[in-house]
Symmetry: C3
Subunit: 338 residues, 3 copies
Amino acid sequence: MFTFRTLGIYHWTWNHRPLLYLECESLRRHRHMLNYVVYERMLFVFPYAPGDYIPNPNYRFMPQGLYYNPYTEPRQVWWQYPQDSGGRYRAMAPQRLTFVLVHGSWADAHFWDGVAAVLRNQGNIVYTPEYAGHGSDPNKNVTHDMITNSVVDYIKHLNLHDFILVGHSFGGTVIQKVAEQIPDRIKRLVFWDAFVLKDGESVVDELPPQTKKGFEQLRAMSNDDTIMLPFDLFPALFVNTATTEDAKLFYTSVAPEPAKPLFEKLDLKAFYALQTPKSYVYFYQDNVMPQGEGYGWNPHMSMRLGLFRLIVGDGDHFTDTRTRPAYLAQKIYDATRD
Amino acid sequence: MFTFRTLGIYHWTWNHRPLLYLECESLRRHRHMLNYVVYERMLFVFPYAPGDYIPNPNYRFMPQGLYYNPYTEPRQVWWQYPQDSGGRYRAMAPQRLTFVLVHGSWADAHFWDGVAAVLRNQGNIVYTPEYAGHGSDPNKNVTHDMITNSVVDYIKHLNLHDFILVGHSFGGTVIQKVAEQIPDRIKRLVFWDAFVLKDGESVVDELPPQTKKGFEQLRAMSNDDTIMLPFDLFPALFVNTATTEDAKLFYTSVAPEPAKPLFEKLDLKAFYALQTPKSYVYFYQDNVMPQGEGYGWNPHMSMRLGLFRLIVGDGDHFTDTRTRPAYLAQKIYDATRD
Amino acid sequence: MFTFRTLGIYHWTWNHRPLLYLECESLRRHRHMLNYVVYERMLFVFPYAPGDYIPNPNYRFMPQGLYYNPYTEPRQVWWQYPQDSGGRYRAMAPQRLTFVLVHGSWADAHFWDGVAAVLRNQGNIVYTPEYAGHGSDPNKNVTHDMITNSVVDYIKHLNLHDFILVGHSFGGTVIQKVAEQIPDRIKRLVFWDAFVLKDGESVVDELPPQTKKGFEQLRAMSNDDTIMLPFDLFPALFVNTATTEDAKLFYTSVAPEPAKPLFEKLDLKAFYALQTPKSYVYFYQDNVMPQGEGYGWNPHMSMRLGLFRLIVGDGDHFTDTRTRPAYLAQKIYDATRD
């Protein structure tokens, strides 16, 4: 018989898996039971890979959020009994990367707050440029070139190199054009439910006729050539997995979107000649674009990338940036692999 | 050091997440450990959203089933230490809704037993009308109009208003026609792997030629213009994720289906003029219809709804009504959001 | 108040669900709390089905790996208090099956090592034939007929009957041809992200023009009419969900693939006349083939099977054989159901 002293219970992530850490002391030793040992410290990770070895965790590198990564199977337990009571676990540092995250329409740099926090917690360096016509920029009269140049200038000013350039939604067209200008600085392009336009296409060319018409009407209704997303479209199209409360919260950050860049036909010949590695992250509940029959993110637009790494998740277009930032960060991280 | 008194361990769901509740008393106070506190009562919810606040649970409103909702990240712990030992947690009541669930072919109102039980447990009001030619109705010689009128009469007789009208499979065509008659009573239409017919179409018009031919042969074989689903088709098409035992159990409730309504071409002009909010729940292992190339639930038929809220799950056509009613109920509930 | 004696904590799988087994003894009886009882032995299974009954587990039949099966809902607890302290739980034995697993291109019989180990652990009999031109065979100058005959001879030599014949990738074409020769020995055909060729088609006929051209160039570059998979294509196409380290590890077993069988047009008239039950396991992150618009595993090729049982998982083309063998084994097992 024994009683035990619980020193603490922690929840972390290790190697993309939730980790439950029970720190406790038993008054008497347990006997070994099968392949399970209850000891001074217990670590549970779920799911685990048979034969896997969980390294000593170091608090500093543990992400704040937990997520469920289904791609490895669960492990039962790992234990360690250090000689001295002051002994602490040491972590393997994950690979540190530099990310430049480019938001889409009806969004600004705060779109990435949650994801950036998670990636930074994991030791990565993260930049979230806000481009012309968005966020704090009062001028909505911008072109696609001006937007692209915002991001290129930002990168050149900070002299960034060897980074992962991530684009979401309309941001896909931005990273296509940015990549044309500064291909040598970019380690990999990651499109997350983002437009991959063909040479000579505009964003609205990828929309179903009905939606395109709606865009044209909203544009015509505005005084400053912008398109404001009506709230009655927002929950169904952008945050369909969110609660009503979250949908309303999200909508508070929606601002009128400059219309011109959505209608501009882009010259992308240089993009299609680039050898930069590419990835596509597709969330299968994203219904902003119809999911097939000549439309949609994947495979319709992703296929245009030629050879690319595909990562699939179960979110929608916006919601996970706030409700599951660690999940989304993990999917983006998975997509960065060489 | 401490020993603790376990008063109970409970498993619930909170805000669509599994909740593990450990009720215990420590003989001595714990010290705070990082952001984790072990106290009088411990609540674990998995997954959790950073910054999330778990309200006091009230047993009455807790659903009986547990399900895994992957759309929010895990939370570590929430604790409360009420002043008096008799203090009990009080719950936020979830939003109460009224549901009218309309089954499909080869089914009757019992199809919804599990889902209705879960939704009722969560405080919702649920109706499951059984329509002409099905269940206890001995007359199989029915038309699509008669079926529609069964549901309309049921709703009018009970004087239901402001309800969610859910249709499954063939039930999709029924709620299309019901909505035409009583649009003002309906808060939202939810199609779960259900037909959304075009104006002038019949159900069999959406089937691949081979399946349509099979339907015609089965119809011709019957004495009473019905189509009996042969058992050799049932496990692969309707319950492909089920065990063999469950498949047999499911098949015991399959009855001959009136053929005429499946071949009737429906006038749906009024439906396509309705402004009623619409949702589509798609289960991606459902293989009753081919999953693409001109066929299928999503996006092929769902797209016809115009603006709709999409919710995706990983089930098949029938199985989850019995093996995962809380999961299915949750997906339907998610689809009801405005 | 009570203290308890923990005899052991185990992690298993029961009926495709993770099972947490806490063996403990209380000094004093607990009182019953709601529907949860803490007693001599506690079993948690997640997810559970309401009303489900967890049989007594027997250690011998428990698989070594744990996996998350999302198709059933969680159960709270099951308890038993045997009269005598030596009382042990007895398990229901799962259905024992015989599997013949046929690998694809750029692979050999070791491809199945993990999956075969899991299936054997669960009591099944598993064969993994290695066919002509692959693995230890030094002769790369083989035809599709020679490959098919390798498998047929293996099966006849061991006099196997009533087995599940599983083909992966190119192995799909092999089991199509094997089934033509020995249909009466086969209980069911299972295609896992495998080619289902039309009559008169070759493997390269299913590739996009660009990929086909790449194959032709690689073939022309070789001295022995093989195609070596370049490493720069491998991580993105074959192991996109794997870590970089795992991708490199996988690549060490990639050997030059005989080219001829990939370009041979196959007569499959006899295959399409077979009545053998068929299943398709589709992993939705598999991007070896474009996922639609006239290409891909499911529904594009799977639909050719006519009536088939579909099972969907979230892996890619290769990775899960090593990182989640129990998950993959489960999906294949699910596909075998009648």
